[in-house]
Symmetry: C2
Amino acid sequence: MGSAPVPAELLTLRDSIDVIDAELLQALAKRFALTGRVGELKASMDLEPFDGVREAEKLERLRTMAAELGLSASLIDDLFSRIMREAVLNHKQLKEARG
Amino acid sequence: MGSAPVPAELLTLRDSIDVIDAELLQALAKRFALTGRVGELKASMDLEPFDGVREAEKLERLRTMAAELGLSASLIDDLFSRIMREAVLNHKQLKEARG
């Protein structure tokens, strides 16, 4: 139990997972570059950092797409709620920094 | 405050964010296909569903990569802890289903 040698296929799978995780990080970095610009725009136009209606609509669309891909709805809710919370936090900090 | 028309650049940015979110979902679906296969392998070889040392090392590497990309360490911790929790849950269910 756990002391057997790791099978070659498992090592290959782990390498593939590492590649996907790097892709996920790259995509997240691109997303935060974009939401950073959204924050700048919102701050410059005195728009609210958080748009609850838009966020709820967005989550609903993501849930639908996730279901088509066989992903758990609660997983997607948790992940994207966390991502959007971070973006809103960045927007608020930017808005406060501008006074 | 909030009643002004949405600027064109904001709409363009939102479209770009939607494209990235679709990429994130696709990458997640690929990741769970791979971890699903990991779960099958582990169950067939009676290996433990959860490997705490490997998960901690993985998170540490992700944090380093995230820092290089300017991403918050706590964000990456939260996201990948949630992703890995889901994968381990799937592994356990598979193992239990096999008795």
